[in-house]
Symmetry: C2
Subunit: 350 residues, 2 copies
DNA sequence: CTGAAAGCGCTTACAG
DNA sequence: CTGAAAGCGCTTACAG
């Protein structure tokens, strides 16, 4: 019962001043205190079940040891593993992550950001996909002083305009995996259901597709159809448009699994068999795509690693000395791997 | 540039004391201040872009206006909508939610709880499925004083032992929807792939199944097989065992969609067609189950509403006066709806 | 209606 | 190595 014990309670019990308790209990300053005093303080602290009030500490030190992360849609299974990666990285430096959801809504995004800043987060991890907002985050000139009060920012799953650090999948490498696979299978009429051009990922994948298809001599105009969003329904619409325009495709490379699922559903509706008539490839390897009919070939992205890396970069920006061997904590594009399942085959199989 | 403005800055600019600024800016005390003074303070505050430091306020008021929520597995698509519901409810009372993930791991769970308590959360929302932990949360006697320092607790998606408030799906009603559907279709040999008995949800659904099957005169021993966890692989194992034991089943009611997906995969492996040979029903209506082959019949649970309700109960416990019309903010079991898709049909169809 | 004072629970120069 | 003092940014009785 009663209120939880404070440092003053510990000090009283150990017969020392609160300043000594503070020093004794903090790993970074404990060496300043005589060992037997430390022992006495630790004992008193444990006897009382004392717990440091991190908010009070934050008020004093001007560091909350908290990082905010804004996610466009927690419901999208892509993000949870990323979040866990971030948490794992921050954990090592005793930092806490506060995640907020924006539902891909600009108004909610502003409010979420306000909330985080008001909570005195030390830094911001941005995973919102829509471009052109980072300027606001860091001030629209090079001088710093943006809307977020000069908070360190790292971008996750998207790139920014300037020198804002980011961690993304290696879209170029991922698409090259897909194209090598499809080309190797003998496909020559390949379509691309692209993500929105106003997302860095949608753009990068479409560019990579065009580049590789051109290099292989299989690019044709009209073979790319841009979906309005990374979701099933837009995937259906884009796939339908694509098929109407280029009916003789033998393979479709979708910019992500949700789009691929949309494609799958219209292909089935039109009586086209996958993979016998049309091969289909997704991107992300989200949960359950291996239980679709047919199980989907896709590119697995190291989501957890992306999060972990982003977390590390943030800690680096925060100048927290986590005792890791000075790795290259810079922006990164992490490579994926191709997971071959039954949605792809040689066009000869038809 | 420079540090963000404080209340002292606003006070200086408005020519008043910080205490007046505090009163003027707080909706609950603004009436104590002369209107034109309020206006002057607000003006100064806006000119400066002043933002209240909520941590400092929390230190002073002993309330962080923060609630912690522990989730067993954020990767499980069941939870994100629940989380959003909670956020929506808390938002109305200007509270922030901090979500932590435990990976269903007891050690991580303890650490997460510590983190939340250390962050001075005002209350705890527990969505971990394993039973028998709430006592620790509230003290193992009726006197309060548990490991979490008497924090208000509300259970989400699980029930507790004592009088701890909870919000769950109405499992009995949900299963009755399923059984009415199956029975109405003419099935008489129905199996149940149950969730773990040590989860309140697994138990409630199995009990409901047995009760209704018995009432309909179609219950037989061996017709229930308990999976070791709510996941695909355990679902496969349980379904295989069930089919080995009772080969002539015409329908399977699974305790959730993941288990149903496991069932689907072994049924296919064994050359049994769904629904021609065996009808299959899931629970939860998680994303993508409508894209399985065949699309799965399942029970849709109002996840968002569950979260919202849980959030409301918490606010109530916190005695925050959110201006809602005194609804019945007690524990609730929210009813689901049956979503009929192609995984179920009359057994006569075979 | 407003100000001066005290204090929430810490940390950190500054003396000793 | 340790203590006394000040202060982080707020709120709230207590006087006036």
């Amino acid at each position: 019962m009663g209120k939880p014990p404070t440092m003053a309670d510990v000090a009283r019990r150990a017969g020392v001043d609160t300043s000594t308790v503070s020093r004794a209990l903090n790993p970074r300053t404990a060496w300043k205190v005589r060992p037997d005093t430390v022992a006495r303080v630790v004992k008193a602290s444990e006897d009382l079940g004392y717990r440091l009030n991190v908010l009070a500490r934050g008020l004093r030190t001007q560091r909350s040891r908290t990082v905010g992360m804004v996610i466009p849609d927690l419901t999208n299974p892509f993000f949870p593993p990323v979040v866990r990666g971030v948490e794992a990285a921050l954990d090592e430096a005793d930092h806490t992550l506060i995640v907020v959801n924006t539902d891909d809504d600009v108004a909610r995004e502003e409010r979420s950001l306000r909330t985080l800043v008001d909570r005195q987060v030390d830094g911001l991890l941005l995973a919102t996909t829509h471009l052109g907002k980072v300027h606001n985050a860091q001030g629209n000139d090079g001088s710093g002083g943006g809307a977020f009060g000069d908070l360190p920012v790292v971008l996750v799953n998207r790139r920014g305009d300037g020198d804002v650090p980011f961690v993304t999948p290696d879209d170029h490498q991922g698409i090259s995996l897909v194209m090598d696979h499809l080309l190797g299978l003998g496909h020559e009429r390949i379509g691309h259901v692209a993500g929105p051009r106003d997302t860095s990922t949608g753009r990068a994948r479409a560019d990579a597709f065009e580049e590789m298809a051109t290099a292989a001599g299989v690019f044709a105009s009209g073979v790319i159809e841009e979906a309005t969003a990374f979701a099933v329904e837009p995937g259906r619409a884009a796939c339908a448009a694509l098929l109407d325009r280029v009916p003789d495709l033998t393979a479709i490379c979708a910019a992500n699994d949700l789009l691929a699922i949309g494609c799958l559903s219209v292909l089935k509706e039109r009586g086209l068999r996958v993979p016998e008539d049309v091969s289909l490839v997704g991107f992300n390897d989200m949960p359950l795509v291996d239980f679709l009919e047919p199980p989907m070939t896709t590119v697995r992205v190291p989501q957890y690693d992306m999060g972990f890396r982003a977390g590390q970069i943030m800690l680096d920006l925060l100048e927290v000395d986590v005792d890791s061997e000075a790795e290259p904590l810079t922006s990164a594009e992490l490579p994926g791997t191709l997971v071959t399942r039954r949605s792809t085959s040689s066009p000869a199989a038809s």
